[in-house]
Structure formats: C-alpha cells, structure tokens
Symmetry: D2
Subunit: 285 residues, 4 copies
C-alpha cells in the first residue's frame, strides 16, 4: 500500500533533533497543509544539549510516504522522524524466577489494558512455565548453564529477531546482557530494578536496605544501556515501611513497588510518550 492514502487513522509523530527557531511552526505547518487534525502536541528542548523533542498526536487520512518525505526535507538529516499508528506494541517479556511482574503483565494483556501483545516469554529458568501456560503463552526456557554468555544470547537473539518485537521487557530477568545485545535493541529494552536507584545497586538489595534501616522501599523502571543499573530512568515508585518489616516483608513491598513502576513505565512507553535524551528520559504525559 505504498504511497496510497490511508483511511482515517490516529497517528503519533515523534521528532528529535538539534533545536533551532521556528521548528514548531515548520512542523505544524506541514501537519496543517496535509489537513491533519492535531489532538495533542508536546515539545521540549533539553537545555543541556539543546535537543528538540516533539510528540504530536493527530487524526486524518494520510499518504505517509509523501508526508514523511516533506517533513524530512524541511528538517534535515540530523533529525529523527518517526510516524506511528496508534496501535498495540509487540513485546517479548523476559523473566527468571519471580512471577509478580510477569503475572501483572499477563493479566493486563488478557484483559486488554496493557496496550501491547506479548509475543512470547523468554526465561533462563523453568519456574514460570506453568504461569505462561495458564495464559496460553509460548515460554522459551533457555537455561544458561554450560553456555557462554555469547552462546546464550545467540539463542535468545534468534527468537527475538524472528519475532520482531517493538520492545523487550525485562520483568525481573536476572541476567545481564552484553553491550552487543543492548546495542542491537538500544532504547527498546525496559528493565525493572529492585531499588530506588541509585541506592542499593548490586547484590542483596533488601539485606542492604534492612541493614540501613530505611523507611521507604522503592523500585525503578528504566531503559537498559550497556552499563548495568544506569540506563535512563522512566518511573520511580516508593512504598512506606516501618521498623517491623522483616527482610521478607521488605522484599514483598519491593515487589509491589516493582509491579507499579513497571506497568506505569510501560504505559508511557507503549503510548510513545518517552524520549531518551542522554542519560535521562523526557516523558510527555
């Protein structure tokens, strides 16, 4: 259907590039001349790097190729322009042994409040296979024992590449990806971290938190980059605790915070509301 005019559709236009005067005028002018009706518009210029970010939601009939060509000609080669239809994302969910985030996503998909289709589940453990079965989902159990990290990732990549997902969601996947893997899906891997970053990085976070006597337990949903625990933060949540919490109670509070932070972050990501600017996210909500 190349170059043919679409039916009435809801579109999301994402633009980023070096800021210069008149950008909004240029872009909205093209949208206007194509007869599109803007529903909402967000722009932001990151003062650190003077990068311009724009998200525009509009409705109309559109020859997408012609529209994109005009936009790209008007802007320039340094700009990233992406036109998306408002539709469900395709995702692969990675998990290890803890069920809580995966279960929440499965329930949300089942009742159509996730705004995404879970193509399959990949795990380095077999623990959650039965959960996947309950929801009639394919579960790839890929044990990492006796495999090098590269070999393990190669098997995973085969599945992932073939499925062509929009996003990879690490729902308590307790294994680190190599920089090569991350690069291949840069900006498209969302992780939930067991902590209110940057606190309690590393092993046994709840033991650390218990030992420190904290009064709140947090969780952080973030994009993954090559440095573990340092990707751009999307959403953070905290839950108040008190001195009576055992390490297990803290762990359960942490899980509740993780579920909250992850599905809130995914809501924004799947609605194309999140840009990455250097080490941070711009969140148009």
């Amino acid at each position: 259907m190349v170059n043919s005019v679409s039916n009435m559709e809801e579109y999301i236009l994402l633009i980023e590039g070096k800021d210069r005067p008149g950008l909004i005028f240029e872009i909205t002018g093209i949208i206007f001349r194509f007869g599109l009706n803007i529903i909402s518009n967000h722009e932001y210029v990151d003062p650190e790097n003077t990068t311009f970010f724009m998200r525009s939601e509009f409705v109309g009939r559109l020859d997408e190729q012609v529209f994109l060509t005009q936009l790209r000609d008007s802007l320039n080669s340094g700009f990233q322009v992406s036109l998306r239809k408002k539709e469900k994302k395709k995702i692969i969910v990675f998990a290890s042994r803890e069920h809580h985030c995966l279960a929440d996503l499965l329930i949300r998909e089942e009742f159509d409040t996730l705004n995404a289709e879970i193509v399959c589940i990949i795990s380095n453990f077999s623990d959650l296979a039965s959960l996947a079965t309950m929801f009639n989902k394919q579960y790839h159990y890929i044990a990492h024992a006796n495999l090098t990290r590269a070999e393990h990732e190669r098997i995973i990549l085969e599945i992932v590449d073939q499925a062509r997902p929009d996003y990879l969601v690490l729902a308590k996947y307790m294994r680190i990806f190599t920089a090569e893997f991350v690069n291949q899906y840069r900006g498209r891997i969302v992780n939930i971290h067991h902590s209110f970053l940057p606190a309690f990085i590393g092993r046994e976070p709840y033991e650390q938190a218990y030992d420190r006597g904290v009064k709140m337990i947090g969780a952080t949903a973030h994009f993954v980059n090559e440095k573990l625990d340092e990707g751009p933060i999307i959403v953070q949540e905290v839950i108040r605790i008190n001195h009576k919490y055992t390490i297990d109670d803290m762990r359960q509070a942490g899980k509740d915070a993780e579920v909250l932070a992850l599905h809130k972050a995914l809501k924004y990501v799947f609605e194309d509301r999140v840009f990455i600017s250097g080490k941070k996210t711009i969140l148009f909500n």
Copy 2:
C-alpha cells in the same frame, strides 16, 4: 513606551478560544516571524467544549502592541490573548484566625521563593496582626460584626481595588464572598479548602472525618466561584492518618496538607500555568 521595542525579555503568552485546525501553526508562525525564541510550549484542547488552550514561553525583543494586534487579527474576537512578562505577581492575602497558611506564605515571600509580592493582609479578626508585624506587612483588620455582608465587602473592596493585585489568596479566610465580589475578581481568587473535596463540605469537617473513620486527610486548593466549595480545583493533597489520631491530630494533619496544597497551587498560578475550563482547571506543568 507604547509601541517601542522592549529589551530582551522573558514572556508568557496565554491564549484560549474555540479550537480549529492550524491554530498552533498560525500562532507559532507569528512568534517565529517576530524573531522570538520559544522556550516551552503547551497546548491542550478540552474535549468537552473543544476549547483550545495554549501557553507559550519565549524570549526576545518585542513591540508588544504590534505583536498582540497581529495575533488578535489572525485569531478572532472570540479568543482571549494575554501577554505577560515573567515577573512576580502582586497579591493580597486574606486570613481569619488560623496562622499556618499565612505564615508559610510570609516565609516564602521573605526568602523570595513565593514568586509574588504580598501587598497587604486583610482579616476579619485581629489574631494574626502580630504575625504580620513580624514580617513588616500591613494588616487590615476589618471586623464583620455590626456590618452587613455588603458593607463589609465594600470596605474590603476599597482596599483591594486600590492595591490592584493580580490575585487574592484566601489563606483560611473563613467568610464567604458574595457573587458580586467573586465576579469582580473571577478567576483571580484562590482558596484553600479544609478537605479533600467533594468530601466533608460544610461545618466541622474534622468532626465529620473522625466520625467516619477515614484513613487519609486531604486539602484542596481551588479557584473561588459564586458557589461555595465548588470552584475549579487546582491541587489536592492527602496525608495518611491512623486510628490513633484525635480530632486535633486530624486538624493538624489537615493544616499540613493545606499548607502543601496552597503553596503548590500558588506556584502554578503565579507562573501562569493554570487555565480555567468550565468547572475544571488545565494545569500546564
């Protein structure tokens, strides 16, 4: 200095009117042609009444009259257009006997974090006169005893009209204004309500809340309209409580929530981030 070009200034442009295609393009086009540099831009169309709201922050040298004339010509008579310099608002604070909100505002003004100048304080009680004196503020004690509501308001209006404030802040002012008074300062009176509206309207809210056994105490900052407790809500805050809270403890929690809600609401209002759309507020933050 009519029609003369200003020095480099920071401006805020506020526009509201009936939505139509191309509005953002039109408006940003004029901003662009005047050589102004947009720092941030917010637009929103209220789906209920298809009213378009826009707030644009920009920097530049500007012949304000010419600019406004062009804008108004391009839009039409149904539009409200307001161009403001980024500067402190002038406010009058109204209080009765409770100190907490007034004291918070005085401290914030004193240390220059209020973004407003408190021109004077008006009260129907003398209790807080000494607080005003500590901060070297004029305190108009206008008792309402032996006065009709109209007479009382007439005295107040004389002071208010002469001071020409941008906003009237009711910081626990426990007296209701007439519709005439409200109309004269429509959209410019901010009140703090002792409750998480619409719950516990009316007398003795903490007795009601205690009786009902609630687990959270709230406060609501809102614009005042002619119907008491029903003006557009700007900010709501809640504080968790437990069964050990006495009515007095609840009252104190309520005060803490009121202080939070009021200064957060005023921050948005004084930065020109709040539009009123029917019974609601649009908050560009």
Copy 3:
C-alpha cells in the same frame, strides 16, 4: 484433640471489652504463666467508647481450652476473646464483571502471597468464568434476573454456609446485600469501593469525578454493614491524575487504586490486625 497440649505453634490472641485498670497486666500474666513467648503485642483504648482492644502474637505449646477458660474467667462475660493459629484464611471472592481485583487475588493466591485460600468465586455474571478456569477455581454463576433479592441471596447463602469461609471478599461485586445477609457475616465481609469515601457515593462515580475536575482518584476498602458505603474503612489509596485524563483514564486509575487498597486491606485482615470499633477500624500494623 480437646484439652490436649499442642505442638509449638504460633498463636494470635484477640481481645476486646470495656477498659479497666490492669487489663494488660492480667492478660500478659496468664500468657506468661502458660510459658508462652510474646512476639508482638498491640493494645489500644478507643477514647470514644473506652473499649480496650488487644492483639498478642506468641509462640508456645498450649492447652487451648484451659488457656481460654482462664482468660475468660479473669476477664468477664463482656469480653470477646479469640485465639487463632497463624494460618491461611478461607475466603470466598464475589465479583461481577470487572476482572482487576479478582485477577490480583488469584495471582496472589497462586504464588502464595495472599495468605488465604480462595474456596470459590461467586458472581452474578458469567464474564469472569474463564478467568476462574485459568486458575482452576470453582465459579458459581448465579444470575439475579428473575429472582427476588431474597431468593438470590438464599442460593448464595447455601454455597457460602457450606464452605464455612472466614471472610467474604467483594472484589467489585456490584450488588447490594440485605441487612439479614450482612448480619450473618457481620465483620467478615470486605468490600472495595470505587471512590475515596465519602466522596462520589452512588452511580457513575467517574462521571461525577470528571465533572468535578478532581486531581486525585481514590479507592476505599471497608467492612460492609447494612448501610451501603458506610461500613468501617480499612485502607484508602489515592492516585494523582491530571486534566488530560478522560473518564476512561480515570476509571483505569480508579481500578489501579482499588487493586492496591483491596490487597493491602486484606493483608491486614488476614493477619488478624483489624478490629472494628463502632464505625471505625483499629489497625494494628
């Protein structure tokens, strides 16, 4: 096994009655003389009705009948004394058409974080039968069409009475019980309310909330009494929203708040941490 000494067990002792000096001393004396080891102890006297509430958690070997007899003799007939082993509660979950609370409870039971066994699900609609099936749960679909309220309840009561549950959990069960039904399970029915009580009681709460332009959406978990929406509150939760929320967005935020409030309330209830004192709850956490 009447009157025989148990193995080492974890017990929870719940006592309520008219306060008088020395109660704690009396009660802890008996606990001490039975050689039991107190792990945690909570007492509270409601100042409104001078009722004494105590929850004591201890470990030991115990002839339960002898222990209870001594306690009841030492206190008096006006006291309610209940000795429970720390074990999972048996519950029946009621639902109508909305899945979110039921699904959350099923997942928590499945992964053993609910602290309860869901004996069966009762619904006046068939919508959630497939969800029940996924979790291998019995689902009683009892349509109310063509039945009087009394007839409908009689069918339900047969199932409930036979199952002998500790609690009935109304997980978005959109039908009102009669006073007779409530009385039979008084203090043992937990409901989740679509609102931050006492606001937005009645029909179409989100339409009301949208219309009012609120900035937070709440949910209230409470015990059910004969007056709808007025039973003692256990937990309240709120979620911040903004002007961009449609009624559907508010409804989804409400559902997220409901899930949070309900499972938090149930955690306290199932751990025997909640007393009812008049129109309020005492929550020992």
Copy 4:
C-alpha cells in the same frame, strides 16, 4: 520535691534491655500496683539483637523515685529506664545559610505546634540572624574561619552545655561534628539530610540527581552518629519531579521534602516515640 507524690500527671515510660519472657507482665504489674492508668502501650523486640523496647503512656499520681527503684530492681542493671513527664522539649537549632527548615521550626514554635522550646539558634554564618530577630530568638553566630574544628566546637559546646537542651536539631547545618561532640550528645542530635539516603551522599547532591535523571527527590531525617550520613533514619520523604525540573527546581523540591521530613521526625522524637536500635530506629506511632 524528691520522693514526694506528684499531682495527677501524664507520664511516658521508656524501657530498653535484653528481652526475656514475662517482661511486659512484670512492667505492667508495677504500673498497675502504683495505681497508674495506662493510656497507650507499645512494645517491640528487635529480632536482630533481641532487644526489648517499650513505651508506656500513663496518667496518675506517682512517687517517681520509689516507682523507678522498683522498676529497676525488678528488671536489672542491663536495662535503661527513663520516666518523663509529657512536656515540651528544650532544643537548640543549628543552621548555616539556608532558611527553610529553621523558619518552619520558628513558625511552629511561635504558634505552639512544635512541642518544643527553641532555646537559641547557633550558626556558622550570619545570614539567618535577621530571621532569628523576627522571632525574638537569640542567634549565636560562631564563624569557623581561623578556628580549628576543635576550637570551633569548644565555643559551641560552652553554649550548648550551659543551655542543657534535650535535643540538638541540625536544620541544614552544613558542618560536620567530631566524634567527641557526637558522643557527648549521642542519640540527641537530629539532622536533616538533603537526599533520600543512601543515594547522593556527599557534595552537590542535586547536580548528581539531575545528572542521573531521577524522577523523585527525597529527604532523610536521621540521628547523627560519628559516621556522616549514616546515623539511624527516622523519617524519609519523597516528592515527584519530572524532566522539566532544573537543578534549582530540584533543589527547591528537595527543600520542601526536607521541611516535611524534619518536622515529622521531630514530632515523633519530641513525643518520645523513637528508640535507636543499632543502626535503625524503632518508631512507636
């Protein structure tokens, strides 16, 4: 008035020591035999070190010496027993250049909601002297230039020792005390930390937070020990922020969180609700 019986008074009894069976029975027995009426009672055993903590609030006429002697005889030398009347604490507030926490405490004292008397203010800067004057408070400006840390502290200690305060409150006092100083007032120095500990310890926390792109800003009120930033945490607060926050906006959000955390912590401390157990606090609220 040694050994004479008091009038009807409200007392708070604080006990800590090695846990053993029957402690509550022993202690409440003595309270009972002295004819005292318990209003509230909290006990907790820290599972890490099996230390027993108890806070009992009661009313009655009491020969304090006889009561304490009986209690100490019944317990043993390893126990710390403290009997306090319910009365305002005497405090010294330390500040440097930032006003927000000091101003909040001064307002609360002025309107009698602090539950403490501010004996005087000590600062290593002169900036806040005028604030102190407004509230008619003595302000000791003790510059640290040209003084060794020991010399500086010696001057401070003279003032402090003479005033005999119950607590020292570091309300943004940006100077570290020596271990000797801390030891002398161990468990009686409360600090407000510019961060959600343990994140962003050290210099320029808001620059660090900005750089990391966090979505929440926190503050931690804690007791001071000899290791900076590592004393037992009393209260933590967070405030949500977004990508539009500049470093200055984050700093202001941080200040608002600090004010909240500090006065909440002080409320608990001044009501004798906080015990220190190793590196943590037990908070009976």
